[in-house]
């Protein structure tokens, strides 16, 4: 089975969408001549020309709003915001405008807009260049938010996002771009709002998304091999709308849950999941739902500090061990 990188999957999906629909165009800083800060758009300017692949000045609020306006007239822009840290400058056009235009004007004008942007730490980019902030978007009605963890899902979700008639925030992660995974079938698509059980398990459920969903799967598989504990892994894939059903079903089965996210722990995505699950599966819970997230500090540049601040496989392992039912634990002492 052929493998491709996350970067290639995005590049392929963008190319296919540009070929499929001439209303689709790309807009963003350095996506053309420079071929993308992270080379996601490599080759596309050459192939489709400057009408379809548009380099912008450093004006995030301006060109995101411009994309929304173009979408109001029926174009289907795919915007790249170089990293999620800069999208903070465009929140007004995203939240006060793109997210509200369809509703506020009584359903007269959809805004079919996709905004791609990578988040995440671990590259020593320090405090202003290492954020996640998914929760800011997931909180807002009128937006859809997706965060795939595999090349296949990235391709499948990018396609459905472009077909969607609403503003979709497509969240990537810097540390995922070089990750390889199965190349999906030519017609593979992933519906927005559907989570995926990436590994079945009996003892507990680990819920995650984006890069941490990949880490969670590795950890779970390793533990399975070592026959330590049977962990079910759910990859959210979409943060808004949330696939409550899949989450509840899994936790009702395992009775234990850990939410694993890269972002700062409090007031994050995990908070909603834990709150919702204790509402919906209270009587099935054998233990409190745990949240594993990063330390709440503006991420420092210095490598040892950065490593100490960010969560990862080690922290997840610890949480799993703490949460493992006594009987199973017993079987190893």
């Amino acid at each position: 089975m052929a493998e491709i990188t996350f970067r290639q999957a995005l590049n392929d999906a963008l190319r296919e969408e540009l070929q499929r629909d001439e209303n689709v165009f790309l807009l963003g800083e350095e996506i053309g001549t420079f071929e993308g800060s992270y080379k996601i758009t490599a080759g596309l300017l050459k192939e489709f020309g400057p009408k379809r692949v548009v380099d912008t000045p450093i004006s995030e609020n301006g060109f995101v709003g411009m994309a929304a306006g173009a979408a109001m007239l029926g174009l289907r822009p795919i915007v790249e915001i170089m990293t999620i840290n800069f999208i903070i400058l465009a929140m007004d056009e995203i939240v006060n405008h793109a997210a509200k235009i369809y509703s506020m004007f009584g359903g007269q004008c959809p805004v079919p807009l996709v905004i791609r942007t990578p988040g995440g730490g671990g590259q020593q980019l320090s405090a202003t260049h290492s954020q996640n902030l998914e929760v800011w978007f997931a909180h807002v009605p009128g937006l859809k938010v997706v965060a795939p963890s595999t090349p296949a899902d990235a391709k499948g979700l990018l396609r459905t996002s472009v077909l969607d008639n609403n503003p979709v925030i497509f969240l990537e992660n810097l540390a995922l771009y070089n990750v390889k995974g199965e190349e999906p079938a030519a017609d593979y698509t992933v519906p927005i709002g559907k989570a995926k059980v990436t590994k079945e398990g009996a003892d507990m459920t680990v819920i995650s998304y984006s890069r941490m969903a990949a880490v969670a799967l590795d950890v779970a598989r390793r533990l399975e091999k070592e026959q330590k504990v049977s962990v079910e892994v759910v990859d959210l894939r979409s943060l808004r709308p949330l696939d409550r059903e899949t989450l509840i079903t899994s936790v009702q089965k395992t009775g234990r849950a850990i939410i694993f996210e890269e972002d700062w722990r409090s007031f994050g995505i995990g908070a909603e999941l834990a709150a919702m699950l204790q509402e919906e599966a209270f009587d099935y819970l054998d233990a409190p739902i745990k949240r594993v997230g990063s330390l709440e500090v503006p991420l420092p540049y210095s490598k040892p500090l950065e490593l100490a601040a960010l969560t990862g496989a080690k922290q997840l392992m610890e949480a799993i061990t703490e949460l493992t039912p006594r009987r199973r634990r017993g079987s190893h002492v």
Binding site: G62, E93, V111
Partner: protein, 346 residues
């Protein structure tokens, strides 16, 4: 090179009209100006009667800028405005009924009662919305122009804003984008001399706002906002350039806000004599005088026009009054556009 022209506000009590002007059209302009005047006065009254809620900003004193702007564009051109847009909505062909109904929050309103005074919209008339966030409409309008250029369309975009809006980052980013991409758009500043309580020169380093075009090599001019024909002609010049040369323009129409910022603003911060003076240059009466002086209408004609307009405004109120509220069962409609590839909601 300096691409700016400075048009000295022309004295407006001059009776002569150019040959080209047809009586019918001029009377239409006057009718629209008067309709806006009376509509806004009625809106203020309805607000005090609590039939209208939220914020309510009126075009009183700005009728000539509104009518001139609308007349300078073609019917299929796209229009974006700020929240002070009742007149523009009517000027672009939304019925006074649908506008008043929106102010009343009724389902028959042009935004189905969801937008209110600040958020009028009509996709069929290419009236792409009033926007309550200052500057918010500029990037959107710029994007609409981007789409029209992308499709090589005949239509262009007219984007209205207030004087205070020129101090926002969105103004700077939008005008720069429009120029580098050669977009067919006319940015139209209604300089009514105040942003809420802040006089234009207190908030903007340059008091003559058309000069801001220089930072984008953008053609810009200043016109007398009390003369609907001067405004129309400036907008036409700019629209023509947008349509044929694919170049944006910036127009500043100098006007004066007759009342407070919104209906609830007691307007205590402006010098009495300034307000009196401002109101003396009443664009509606000035234009009526010109029409009379030119023998295009007489007092009888004017008063029958008054009656007609009063009727139109009353009909709008009746319609709004008798219209139903949006059904509460429909509250969760329109959050997401259909034909999405997922199930609704979050």
């Amino acid at each position: 090179m300096d691409t700016q022209q400075r048009t000295q506000p022309t004295v407006t009590d001059n009776a002569g009209f150019d040959q080209g002007e047809s009586r019918e059209t001029l009377l239409d302009y006057y009718h629209l100006m008067l309709l806006i005047r009376r509509f806004e006065e009625k809106a203020a009254e309805m607000y005090t009667k609590a039939r209208i809620g939220g914020y309510c900003h009126l075009n009183l004193g700005e009728e000539a800028t509104v009518v001139g702007f609308c007349a300078g564009l073609e019917p299929t051109d796209y229009v974006y405005t700020n929240y002070r847009e009742h007149g523009y909505a009517i000027g672009r062909g939304i019925t006074p009924e649908a506008v008043m109904a929106e102010l009343f929050g009724k389902v028959t309103g042009c935004s189905k009662g969801r937008g209110g005074s600040m958020h009028l919209f009509d996709i069929n008339r290419h009236f792409m919305g009033g926007y309550g966030i200052v500057g918010g409409q500029l990037p959107l309008a710029t994007g609409a122009a981007f789409a029209l250029a992308y499709r090589d369309a005949h239509e262009i975009v007219g984007c209205q804003m207030g004087d205070g809006t020129t101090n926002t980052g969105a103004f700077h980013e939008s005008l720069n984008l429009a120029k580098i991409y050669h977009l067919p758009i006319v940015y139209f500043i209604v300089n009514n001399q105040y942003g809420m309580g802040l006089r234009v020169d207190k908030g903007s380093a340059v008091g003559e706002l058309y000069r801001k075009g220089a930072a984008y090599d953008m053609r810009s001019e200043r016109v007398d906002g009390n003369d609907p024909l001067a405004v129309r002609d400036a907008v036409r010049r700019a629209a023509e350039i947008a349509r044929s040369d694919r170049e944006p323009s910036l127009i500043e129409a100098v006007s004066y806000r007759f009342r407070g910022h919104s209906v609830v603003d007691p307007d205590r911060y402006r010098p009495k004599d300034e307000v009196t003076q401002g109101r003396e240059h009443d664009p509606v009466t000035l234009f009526a005088d010109r029409l009379k002086a030119a023998g295009m209408i007489d007092d009888a004609g004017l008063s029958s026009m008054e009656e007609r307009v009063e009727q139109e405004v009353n009909d709008a109120v009746t319609f709004a009054d008798e219209s139903p509220n949006p059904p509460v069962e429909g509250l969760m409609d329109y959050i997401y556009a259909p034909d999405s590839t997922d199930e609704e909601g979050a």
